[in-house]
Point group: C2
Chain length 233, copies 2
DNA sequence: CGTCCATTTGAGGTGGATCAACCCTAGTGG
DNA sequence: CCACTAGGGTTGATCCACCTCAAATGGACG
């Protein structure tokens, strides 16, 4: 945020395979837009903690996480931070209807993204109602998440927030019932409106109750999803 | 929410003046859609505290407040409530990209709305990219509000939240520098993630500091917007 | 094997919640 | 017109969930 770290990046430009897949695969959000319209997608990599774009910066590109993880956040003047969402492989982020990004975005770990120019999407949406519909649907999906998150931030207890978080991450990134969290405790706290210490204590308590297991602080196995659901409100 | 109150309502159906105003007036969100496409809008009235639709109910209609005020909210199983937004005259609400409403809606005071069938809008959006674009823009506007509100709920102090609320309401409903709040202290608390007592104490403190004046608990005059801005983070 | 940062754990403080009166004021009915 | 009432609002006293500050522990990486 403060000092932009410049570093070498793997850059690869490719023609998206629009002729190979003229119909939209449900599995790939980006394929449904970029692929469908035959846009050129570029790959780009960011190092851990590198800024992808800042708050209120012109929204020139729309991104999709290929590998890694991204946090989107807002800051108050004194540095308090609220992370609005985490973006994991496959997720599209940075899509704006207006001219500027409403949140900043940073790579949580080394991350590769695909990106397309927003203007290309706008142009495609002006011609093709299916593209226009898809842009709306994606924004509506973000709105749904934000609405759920407002309930969490406004009304849930610390334990309920952590339970909700674990179930969300389990759903989104568990492989063989194990999840490898890319983000640190502070990020989790800033996502849940808590301090990192409170997050750590809640996780310890869940561990002590046998609801989850650790293999290192960021490798978590849920041993009892039902009990976790009960702890969520 | 629990017991639906049925009562007599003023019902008026009208043909929207699409031939009179073929271009979209910026001043009227609904005119930009319904009017533009020449849809039939119906007027409907709800009494204070009456439910307009429930959470997860099929989203059959899209609404615009003509007069009155509406709260959109989510509930936890034990009754804790988070109000996501207040809808004031001119505001469109209940617009969904998916099949169901994500929040419930209730009239805060006696309220009249205009409504159009969601299916009509969908149909229009399938033909006209300008309509499709407008639907996206409206959802994106709601997302922007939700993102700002997440920051408030996750990271602002009680006084900062109340200051933000007052500035928002001042912007949206002040007439001659006086605002007449339609909602009670509990609604404000459930919007800001606070209790009604905390809201009341913050307002009293602002009153004692001369930052605002009361004419009855819900008639508020901001006497010093700058100081209020400073109290906001 | 040592360094550095993330994480955990402990001790104590506090902002806002909770519980409890009390006070307005708008509406009602005599 | 005025007395009464009920619901909303204010204020006070106390509590506690979470924050803050501090220190110890652990794990990844050179």
């Amino acid at each position: 945020m403060l000092t932009q770290t410049f570093n070498t990046r793997a850059i690869k430009t490719q023609i998206n395979g629009s002729k190979i897949a003229p119909v939209h695969p449900v599995s790939d959000q980006f394929g449904e837009i970029a692929g469908y319209v035959g846009l050129i997608a570029t790959e780009f990599s960011y190092r851990k903690d590198e800024e992808i774009y800042g708050e209120d910066e012109p929204a020139e590109y729309v991104y999709q996480v290929v590998s890694g993880a991204v946090r989107s956040y807002k800051l108050l003047s004194d540095g308090r931070r609220q992370i609005g969402s985490f973006h994991l492989p496959g997720d599209v982020f940075g899509l704006e209807s207006g001219p500027a990004h409403r949140l900043a975005a940073e790579a949580i770990i080394d991350t590769t993204v695909r990106l397309v120019k927003r203007s290309s999407l706008e142009k495609a949406a002006g011609t093709d109602v299916l593209v226009a519909r898809k842009l709306w649907t994606m924004t509506a999906g973000e709105l749904r998440h934000a609405e759920d998150h407002m309930l969490l931030l406004g009304r849930k207890t610390a334990m309920e927030r952590v339970a909700t978080f674990l179930l969300e991450m389990d759903r989104r990134l568990a492989v063989a019932s194990m999840m490898a969290l890319p983000m640190c405790r502070r990020d989790i706290g800033d996502y849940l409106g808590l301090t990192l210490e409170t997050v750590s204590r809640a996780l310890s308590q869940l561990h002590a109750q046998g609801i989850l297991g650790f293999s290192g602080a960021r490798q978590i196995v849920l041993r009892n999803r039902q009990r976790l659901h009960n702890l969520d409100a």
